[in-house]
Symmetry: C2
Subunit: 108 residues, 2 copies
């Protein structure tokens, strides 16, 4: 994880609404409209946030067909675990220059 990815991650989580989304999804997968109702948030707004969370790798969405033929966009939490301290940040910065040496290390 380099600086850019770390930043995207932190900026994604560092927002009240998105934190709420994570909390809600923690209890299980939901589709967008249902999630919007639970959070009391407009669907387009929720879309924006989900998009951002997905880009940062915090959630993943998939389109599914329900029994009665309706298309439902389900979102679920992606497992993430980032230790945040000075060393972590410096380590991320060190990755920036390093041109992907080593054959595809662990976790991204």
């Amino acid at each position: 994880m380099n600086s850019e990815e770390l930043l995207a991650f932190l900026a994604a989580v560092g927002h009240a609404q998105r934190l709420r989304i994570i909390k809600e999804l923690a209890s299980g997968t939901l589709y967008v409209s249902e999630l919007a109702r639970r959070l009391g948030v407009s669907r387009p707004l929720l879309y924006m946030h989900l998009e951002r969370l997905e880009k940062a790798g915090l959630v993943v969405g998939r389109l599914e067909l329900s029994d009665d033929g309706k298309a439902l966009k389900y979102f679920e939490l992606a497992p993430f675990d980032v230790q945040l301290n000075v060393d972590t940040i410096l380590a991320a910065a060190r990755q920036d220059g390093a041109s992907e040496t080593g054959q595809a290390g662990q976790a991204e």
Copy 2:
């Protein structure tokens, strides 16, 4: 650490400039003007960021008098270490309602 504090922390770190400030301060304490020069940032702007970092508890500043009588505002990193995953976030949320029971637990 409750949701509010966690959010302040994440929002503080989730910004490119402030991440740079942390990196720079990682190598040692600096006073504002010097830090501004190193980062190539205007001093008032740096002030804003430092203020935010200080509120979130990431840095601490103290005013000192140099040998030649000049007042220098030094900033240094405060030790921080936050594990960021779903459980951590849910744990923070759980603290929100809990009205400070238990006599002053560890770390804030």
